[in-house]
Symmetry: C2
Subunit: 363 residues, 2 copies
Amino acid sequence: MANTVHVALGERSYDILIGDGLLSGELTRLSAKLKLGRRCAIITDSTVRPLYGATVRDALAGAGLQASLLTVPAGENSKSLKVSGELYEHLATAQLSRRSFIVALGGGVVGDLAGFIAATYLRGVDFVQAPTTLLAMVDSSVGGKVAINLPQGKNLVGAFYQPRLVLADLALLRSLPEREFRSGMAEVIKYGVIYDAKLFELLEQRLDALMAKDMAQLAPVIARCCEIKADVVSQDERESGLRAILNFGHTVGHAIEAVAGYGGYLHGEAVAIGMLAAARLSQKRGGLGAADVARIESLLRRAGFDLTLPAVPFAKIIAPMRVDKKAVEGKLRFVLARRIGEVFVTDAVTEADIEETWNVSRR
Amino acid sequence: MANTVHVALGERSYDILIGDGLLSGELTRLSAKLKLGRRCAIITDSTVRPLYGATVRDALAGAGLQASLLTVPAGENSKSLKVSGELYEHLATAQLSRRSFIVALGGGVVGDLAGFIAATYLRGVDFVQAPTTLLAMVDSSVGGKVAINLPQGKNLVGAFYQPRLVLADLALLRSLPEREFRSGMAEVIKYGVIYDAKLFELLEQRLDALMAKDMAQLAPVIARCCEIKADVVSQDERESGLRAILNFGHTVGHAIEAVAGYGGYLHGEAVAIGMLAAARLSQKRGGLGAADVARIESLLRRAGFDLTLPAVPFAKIIAPMRVDKKAVEGKLRFVLARRIGEVFVTDAVTEADIEETWNVSRR
């Protein structure tokens, strides 16, 4: 049995299915139902391929589809123009037509890359997100932001391009390393802070079962996160306003990732620290109570996050914030919490505020 | 004074302005009116840059905008991932933000390439088409098809991405070489055949003045072509049906370009031959009268097209048609004329039909 979340975007609407064991059965059933064509390419990475590549390919082949499996090296470096060029040439050589589709089988990197390829190959072909990490299930696979990197920065080339279907197969989480799983939990906690006080309370009550991957408990929580993201994206597909609230904790988080070099921190690990910083800034400039800051910090610690700030001077951490894609005319934009469950976007946070928070936190 | 054609695509609607001397004044006035931001990059090629690059940059700079001028080598080879990568890095290094815009100053190659960059840099920034050839004015700058090439074929990577504005400055046609101008005229004649018998008659009456670049005569003809294209695109933005009629003459035309190697024929020269082939196939399978075939052939010849078929065996010319993006499940799709001004899409044309036409035409 699967939970279904509908993403309402007019003719670009689609469903997210969340359930245990969806990939072998539901993918072929739904690709037929959605008339996705008889040929497809599964794009995956070197980590996921040995675990699930053959299963997915065989499931599609068993239903009579021509499915080729394309594997990129695991890691952020595959989100490049070079790897994109190799994938395009594979698709063209295999003569995949406009009626073909692409399956993104992997975490955020694969979803972003395969989504970008789907958005641009033959001016756009259908694609299905099959996220294999918790982070990708609750965040990157939903909402249509696809991108690759440039030497100058992450996600600088991309598109808003919606999948036709997202299949979040919880069975895949069983093989997910604990550290990766925890990284995803940072985004889960974020949804509680930005949108849903009840979800936050639920997480406080059930964190241990969730961290132990209790599927019965996880399913509704992941579905609720997808619902929140779908809700936000439906109101602001192209990120002109509301969608910015999804970046709570990310301004500082991205800066930490940037100074540490990608790979030093997992995304969720950097975002966890960023959320604590945002909570403290919210206390100073957003009206968030000290008790709520403490609840956020406590939940992050219980999830196992190391909230120690990286040992870099403030000047190094502020530099990437100044060139953030969301900065407007040189002003920093921050998402702050008014209370748990309600946030707002502001440019009232000064560099001095951040410096103070940064230095206090390091003591 | 400028003719204005509106392209009705909901929130993606835009105007095409056609007039003499628009580039210096109207570009800055309209970029302000459309709130296109204060920074932009003008993408042009090595042919156009010495003619108009400085004029456009100075006009924008004179209005207080920060405008950088990026030049790619003239020719189809610039529609590559490699050149795209160089352009992206220029934009990122110059820190062009989401509120910046791109001006495509050139012919079809520049419009396709710059449009693709605009569609994908930062997930899409505004762009303005400033076509410098007749072909680009009446065809490629209107309708939002942008793309680059792969080694496997033309336009295999791209997007449907509409400009915010198209400025067709007729003054630029004065410097356009006669052969390029004639190439554009093939598409002008095409619009008469596919959509507008009156336009076709007008072309028959005024061809000599048009070929002599009589601006007063050219302006309404170019405007009418844009209107027809806008009309077709409004009804079928993503090429799922009607838009295919724009490919009259292009199935054979593309095949001729492919076997001759790009550069052997100008696009319009290949399309002119393709239109004659399509007219003959229309007589066989579409009900087009012999008199109308003769009118089409005569108008093409009066415009100065060499309608001699390339000296290649049929087997070579049919191969690219079989892998055409529009071919469905291996069946050729052709646009045929019922009469001048009315066409339809069919898969009733067999390879034997094409071979017969090909061989008859070569005698």
